[in-house]
């Protein structure tokens, strides 16, 4: 990963130097859409003020860019199958870009619409996103670059939180319409991305810095050209688009968290490059530890074990920093077009410390049906995260019919976490102190090349191909944990405890790769009342994962020779690492390593048919062959029993979307699609991990099958012009064999696993309203409001005969909130060069953990988040901006409850950020 960075930096520097072009002209740019099908129209002839040079036309994606001297112009758009259209009053200023996107009516269509839409240019991306959405073949919700920029969001996860029906769980995982992250998938630049999380199936969206993202779309109904693993939603992220002209923006932000900045902060000793998120090697497995042999008794002498033991980094203790630094974010982005070549690049760096005290309890059924507290902990977590992201995209326009695009994205995120736990441990009935030092590096690199070729001889059909390679890795070197304890309520000194997590050193490495070739061919057709597009194509998603981990633990051999009440670093210090003191033992299990592959080959055919002016039917089917193999075995462990999971499925997945245009501005949509949900690698491997002492351990189930889902959608949309919209939807989903978390009957520990349960259903309503308030009252013309509400109801049925430990056999899906609402109030006044936004996000209570042994389910209680952003342009041109934001203004109390106990409670503090950005060109 590191070498990529160097390459990137060099490229970026070269790019910066390349800014030598004078800026005398301005650009007009836009996309031309088909009014009926919404797809971009390639090869539309463009005439500027009656001047036809014969070469000016839209490209394969319906886009065009024209460089013009300052002045006022008129564009005429002509195309074989469409009515000629003129866009008037296009003002070009030197060094600026003017948007001139448009829609064209088909020649064959008989206009019976009540209102004939005035054809004009679409001024902003927010608006064009809406146009795209209005014309899209499937139900989707999107967030534009403008909205992302205007929000407090620092990453994709934060930005998505404002989208209808979305809630974000655990910082980076998307729940769409109350369906857990296992039911959503993520695409970056139209390619699947591998995850960095061994415990999860989708890529965490907090990995993508907001400044690198152009727009995010959440597709909610299935169409056959999408991968069949789809049910809640498909998050499609697009990185920074090509600029119409040379741009370069630099921004700097400093953030102050009320419970972190300037406060005492839990950290631990590390390397000199920790602040940038790079380990300098001090956390690696010691050089002397053999890589090809396991440290088992009998394989090495006591002296060798002593040597091994002493070679580990002997630091186990949390070391507080007296004053935590503020959050810092620096980013630079720029791009230019040189004739046929367009290049855009962006780099961002962020370092944010966050201190989170937390109360956590575990309950047990005491007998009389009344739960009582079993373990009662105080957590204090100091986490410093360093994130680097970079994008380098280049497009080469061979001619208007042929284009090549290269896209590269790199993100890297490091967490340095010092976790301190104190309190009563019910497992052994004593007060414990646990210190855990954890360093996690996650990286994702995606590189792809794609080409578009419009073939005019073949009825203006477009051939698109793309090959993407993505690589993600996660490295967690040298997790260290120690636990000390004493008799509850006593004033004895705490003494080192020989608990399973105590004296633990855990190393893990995950590598996940996806190779994804895809191609499709689209042929438009026009026959009287029928016009449309026939599309066929294939996508191969070839995924490989390699997970490897090693566990070591320091065991006391003769405890009588050691004073356990000394500080941890002394107890486990090198003087005590000796044959009759502490000895290191490898406790790597046969299941601590797995290799997995998932090969999915899908082919589809679909027809997008406009029937007359009002009806549009998009129907098609997809055939997907999926093969998943997970082999869990550490070959270096004698006697290891390998576990194999093998799934082979061929699925026929039909999809139908029907759009009825009630009026020119109102759509009614119906959608049906059959989709699948496959078990993740992790869920198929018996690898096991425990996060919190006394908490759940999670283990996979090699016998899982894929689930099938039938999805039904209805939506009514009313586009009020500009970026205003009102929409209402109803959805219903029925799951067959859904994979749910369950608890396995074991004696000594709570253990989470996965199982295909009988069935589940999920239904709900979404409402969206986005409008300027000027139409109600002139004095409110500076104000706009965006609001969305989602109501969800779901129900899972668990086979009770097998899982009687579960308290509820019928319950909502884990993670489903009954309602989610977002309100964004906007205020904008050009005269004051100011705009401001106020956000309210509220997510109602949802199940986080399923209750067992007559204990009720655990609920995350309702959260309300209030954010505020104010932006001021120091320069009238808007090139130099000042920005102030406040996040979590109400300092929301996150609470999880079980019965009438609060089992988890924490706050993350208010964060105030001040920043500035300067645009050079």
């Amino acid at each position: 990963m590191k070498q990529y960075f160097r390459t990137w930096l060099v490229l970026l520097a070269a790019l910066t130097l390349a800014y030598a072009q004078p800026a005398g002209k301005g650009n007009v740019t836009g996309t031309v859409f088909d009014a009926a099908t919404g797809r971009p129209i390639p090869l539309v002839q463009i005439e500027v003020d009656g001047v036809t040079d014969g070469k000016m036309s839209t490209d394969t994606e319906g886009r065009f860019t024209i460089s013009l001297s300052p002045g006022k112009y008129k564009l005429r758009l002509t195309s074989t199958n469409h009515l000629e259209t003129t866009i008037e009053d296009i003002v070009v200023k030197a060094g600026e870009v003017t948007e001139a996107s448009s829609v064209l009516q088909q020649k064959g269509s008989v206009t019976t619409l009540d209102v004939v839409e005035k054809v004009g240019s679409l001024q902003t991306t927010a608006e064009s996103v809406l146009v795209e959405r209005r014309l899209a073949s499937s139900v989707s919700d999107a967030i534009s670059k403008e909205d992302i920029k205007a929000s407090t969001a620092s990453d994709a996860a934060g930005a998505l939180e404002k989208v209808t029906g979305i809630s974000i769980v655990d910082g980076g995982f998307v729940f769409v319409r109350g369906l857990g992250e296992r039911y959503s998938s993520t695409m970056l630049n139209n390619a699947m991305v591998p995850t960095t999380e061994p415990e999860r199936r989708v890529v965490p969206l907090d990995l993508f810095p907001a400044s690198l993202i152009d727009n995010i779309k959440v597709v909610k109904t299935y169409s056959a050209d999408l991968p069949g693993e789809f049910s809640g939603g498909l998050v499609q992220m697009q990185t920074t688009e090509f600029p119409a002209q040379k741009t370069m923006t630099v921004s700097v932000n400093y953030g102050f968290n009320s419970q972190t900045a300037g406060k005492r902060f839990s950290s631990f000793g590390g390397g000199s490059r920790d602040a940038f998120g790079f380990d300098d090697g001090n956390r690696g497995l010691p050089a002397g530890i053999p890589a090809d042999r396991r440290l088992f008794v009998g394989s090495f002498t006591d002296q060798e074990f002593q040597q091994f033991g002493r070679s580990f980094n002997p630091d186990y203790e949390i070391r507080p920093v007296s004053s935590a630094r503020p959050t810092q974010t620096y980013s630079i982005s720029g791009g230019n077009t040189w004739g046929k070549l367009g290049v855009v690049a962006a780099v961002t760096f962020n370092n944010s410390p966050q201190q989170t005290p937390e109360e956590r309890r575990f309950l047990v059924n005491s007998g009389g049906g009344r739960p009582q507290v079993f373990s009662d902990y105080q957590f204090n977590v100091g986490n410093e995260s360093a994130r680097i992201g970079a994008v380098l995209n280049a497009a080469y326009r061979i001619n208007n019919s042929n284009k090549l695009v290269f896209r590269n994205t790199l993100t890297r995120d490091t967490d340095k976490e010092a976790r301190f736990i104190s309190g009563l441990n019910g497992g052994n009935g004593q007060d414990i102190l646990s210190e855990r030092l954890r360093w996690t590096e996650r990286g994702l690199m995606s590189t792809g090349i794609e080409g578009d070729h419009a073939v005019s001889r073949l009825k203006n059909s477009v051939f698109h191909w793309q090959f993407t390679f993505s690589n993600s890795d996660r490295s967690e070197p040298d997790l260290r944990e120690t636990i000390r304890g004493r008799e509850p309520g006593s004033d004895q000194p705490y003494a080192f405890l020989n608990l399973p997590e105590s004296g633990l050193r855990f190393f893990s490495e995950l590598k996940d790769k996806i190779y994804e070739p895809q191609a499709d061919w689209s042929v438009p057709f026009f026959k009287g009342k029928f016009s449309g597009l026939f599309k066929t194509g294939f996508r191969g998603t070839i995924r490989r994962r390699d997970f490897d981990s090693r566990r070591f633990r320091f065991f006391p051999i003769r405890a009588g020779t050691i004073d356990f009440t000394q500080p941890t670093n002394v107890v486990l210090g090198s003087n005590n690492i000796r044959p009759d003191g502490f000895a290191v033992r490898e406790i790597t299990r046969g299941t601590d390593r797995y290799e997995a592959l998932m090969d999915i080959y899908g082919g589809f055919s679909m027809v997008d048919l406009a029937i007359g002016a009002r009806w549009r039917v998009i129907s098609g089917f997809r055939i997907e062959d999926a093969q998943i193999n997970v082999t869990t075995l550490d070959p270096l462990i004698p006697g290891g029993i390998p576990s194999f999971a093998n799934l082979n499925n061929r699925d026929l997945l039909p999809a139908v979307n029907v759009i009825y245009q009630l009026t020119a501005k109102q759509n009614l949509r119906f959608g049906y699609g059959r989709t699948v949900n496959r078990p993740d690698f992790r869920e198929l491997s018996p690898f096991e991990f425990t996060n919190v002492v006394g908490g759940y351990s999670t283990v996979g189930n090699p016998n899982l099958r894929r689930a099938k889902i039938d999805n039904y959608d209805v939506r009514w949309e009313w586009f009020l012009g500009g970026n205003q919209v009102i929409a209402a939807s109803y959805f219903f989903k029925r799951f067959q064999d859904p994979i749910e978390q369950i608890y396995r009957p074991t004696a000594s520990e709570l253990r989470q696993s996965f199982l295909n349960v009988d069935s589940a259903r999920n239904q709900g309503v979404e409402l969206e309203w986005r409008q300027g308030l000027g139409r109600f009252n002139k004095s409110l013309r500076d104000f706009g409001i965006q609001a969305n509400v989602t109501l969800v109801d779901s129900d899972v049925t668990i086979p009770t005969d097998q899982f009687v430990q579960l308290t509820s056999a019928n319950r909502p899906l884990v993670g489903q909130s009954r309602y989610i609402f977002n309100v964004i109030a906007e205020w904008q006044r050009a005269a004051l060069r100011s705009n401001a936004r106020f956000y309210v996000n509220s997510v109602s209570r949802r199940i986080t953990d399923v209750g067992t042994f007559q204990l009720p389910d655990i609920y995350q209680e309702r959260n309300v988040l209030l954010d505020f952003v104010y932006e001021y342009s120091i320069k009238e041109s808007g090139k130099w901006k000042l920005r102030f934001s406040g996040e979590n203004l109400n300092n929301n109390i996150y609470r999880q409850t079980q019965s009438d106990f609060v089992v988890r409670r924490f706050q993350i503090g208010r964060t105030f950020t001040i920043g500035t950005s300067y645009t050079f060109f």
């Binding site: 008794v297 005491s366 004593q430 004895q492 003769r558 406790i587």
Partner: protein, 584 residues
């Protein structure tokens, strides 16, 4: 903790194997002087401690075996003769050392005709008795060193070491699905999980060694599935030994997994069955059901040593684990020695056990949960200063303290000798610890030298008080001494200091069932060669003992507190030597 100071003088081996002359200085006493001297002793019961060992547990014929011996006189001034021999336990034939032939000699090579040499034991002595060539006599053998009276005929004190002479070490397969008998002329190696299943019975002959291999994952475990059976019936002279493959002196807790027996008797999890974590999940590896009389097999004179490897990151195996075994299961004369987790653990079920020896377990000694309701009589649980937690740790069910059927074991006549050290992963580690809704009847218990206290627990008010009120939980006849000196405030000599408040009322009933008095045992803290029998005048015979119910299981004659009257039932088959005391 007191430590044994051993003579470190280098001992040079004579070619005959006789070392005594060059090694420790035994002062010779004449027979007439000895006769004069012994008139001053009232009883012949040695205070000396001694143990004998070799380099490993099993040998092939032709290998060299070095007999090592440590003796500590503990102020024993009695004039002894010393006799050492190897006995073939198949034939009974004795071969006297140092010459290793069947001519009776004393330790110094004197025949009865020569007259055995009469000596006083010198200060702590470690010696090499002999190096012998292992003969081709397959089966279990015993190395014996005896202190005899001055006439050389009456043994006063005997140390034993069991070893096997085998043709080969045979690897056991992962699955035993047909009846199979393991014979003492071989040793059997376990690597990974060896499962007896499919209605098969594994029979192990007396004197057989089972060798657990370290470094395998899943660990080396002998698992008797709920449709399998084990018949491992040793004898006092030929116990069945399941031990580590490592050389003696270098064996450690957790070298291998241990013995796990699963059955179909009731447990109190609502599912009716549970799985043992870390084992492959098959219907046969579940435990729990409806057959209270399920028979997991029979264990008799079995030692399980150095077990407790990790089944999973958070789960060590116990030396001996019973999961839902029923009344048909037999267990007598079992030793769990140096386990990484508990010595004996019951997960539900109804099975009984008698004559249990738990030594140096890193966790608890008798641990029951998930509703175990068996009976136990006669036992001794010994902690050393390494690691250890609680003597008894009894739960009803961890997940639901009120689960039914209630775990209600009945115990009589057990001695618990603490390590005098803080509990290791449970700092509150008393002799008896009750929690999570525990039920049961605990009687005639002796608690000595536990650092926190004699009796404590958790979740008492909510979950155990109801059982006390309903008569489902009782403790009767407890003799406590020297416990609780590390509690705050330290008060080892008072009830308050030794018993947590919640249980005081229970024990200070009209019969005054709690006695705080010096236990007066013979040699309870001499770890490598203890003697837990009472001295004359010991309070174990006082009236606080409780008569066990006459239900056919409990021996009515055990009219004392603790595991021992005057008879040492651990002699010969059990082994107490601490590993650090078995260095060459």
């Amino acid at each position: 903790m007191r430590k044994i100071t051993l003579a470190t003088a280098a001992l040079s081996l004579l070619s005959t194997g006789l070392v005594a002359a060059e090694g420790p200085q035994f002062r010779t006493i004449s027979a007439s002087q000895a006769e004069r001297e012994i008139s001053g002793f009232t009883s012949v019961s040695s205070t000396a401690a001694m143990w004998v060992w070799a380099d490993k547990s099993v040998y092939r014929p032709g290998e060299q075996l070095t007999v090592r011996w440590t003796v500590k006189p503990n102020n024993d001034l009695y004039p002894y003769t010393i006799v050492a021999y190897r006995q073939n336990n198949q034939t009974g034939a004795k071969f006297y050392l140092p010459a290793n032939n069947n001519t009776a000699t004393d330790f110094f090579g004197n025949t009865p005709a020569d007259g055995f040499r009469i000596v006083r034991i010198p200060e702590a002595t470690k010696a090499t008795v002999a190096t012998v060539t292992v003969p081709e006599e397959y089966g279990m053998h015993t190395l014996v060193v005896q202190l005899r009276d001055y006439t050389g005929t009456r043994p006063v004190k005997t140390a034993y070491f069991k070893f096997g002479v085998v043709r080969a070490t045979v690897d056991l397969p992962a699955n035993i699905t047909e009846n199979r008998t393991l014979t003492a002329d071989n040793a059997y190696s376990i690597r990974g999980i060896v499962t007896v299943r499919n209605n098969a019975t594994l029979t192990i002959e007396p004197g057989t060694f089972i060798i657990g291999q370290p470094g395998s994952q899943p660990p080396s475990v002998l698992l008797v599935a709920n449709n399998g059976k084990i018949m491992a019936e040793g004898t006092r002279s030929r116990p069945i030994v399941m031990t580590s493959s490592q050389p003696i002196g270098r064996r450690q807790r957790g070298d291998w997994g241990g013995l796990v027996m699963l059955g179909q008797a009731p447990i109190n999890d609502p599912a009716g069955f549970l799985t043992i974590e870390g084992l492959p999940e098959l219907p046969e590896t579940r435990y729990g059901g409806t057959d209270a009389n399920h028979n997991c097999g029979s264990l008799k004179y079995v030692r399980v040593e150095f077990a407790g490897a990790l089944l999973r990151p958070n789960e060590e195996t116990n030396a001996i684990t019973w999961g839902a075994c029923g009344k048909g299961t037999k267990a007598e004369y079992l030793q769990a020695h140096y386990g990484l987790d508990d010595a004996f653990e019951w997960f539900g079920g109804t099975n009984d056990a008698k004559y249990l020896v738990g030594t140096y377990a890193a966790d608890d000694f008798l641990d029951g949960q998930v509703g175990w309701s068996g009976r136990v009589q006669h036992g001794v649980m010994v902690a050393n200063d390494d690691l250890s937690n609680r003597g008894i740790e009894m739960d009803n069910y961890e997940r639901n303290f009120g689960a039914r059927p209630l775990g209600k074991p009945t115990m009589f006549n057990l001695s618990f000798i603490g390590g005098g050290a803080r509990g290791f992963d449970e700092s509150d580690s008393p002799c008896l610890y009750f929690r999570r809704g525990a039920g049961g009847s605990y009687n005639n218990l002796l608690c000595y030298n536990w650092i926190t206290r004699s009796m404590g627990g958790a979740n008492i008010g909510d979950s155990i008080q109801p059982n006390i009120a309903s008569g489902d939980f009782s403790v009767n006849g407890v003799l406590s001494w020297n416990n609780g000196y590390n509690t705050t405030p330290a008060a080892p000599a008072t009830t308050d200091g030794q018993v947590v408040a919640d249980f005081r009322a229970l024990l200070s009933g009209p019969a005054a069932q709690l006695l705080i008095a010096d236990t007066l045992l013979r040699r309870p803290l001499e770890r490598s060669d203890p003697d837990f029998r009472p001295l004359t005048g010991s309070p174990v015979f006082r009236a606080n003992w409780v008569q066990a119910p006459d239900d056919g299981f409990f021996d009515q004659w055990a009219t004392w507190i603790g595991g021992f009257g005057d008879h040492d039932w651990t002699e010969e088959w059990a082994s107490f030597a601490q590993e650090q005391d078995l260095q060459p």
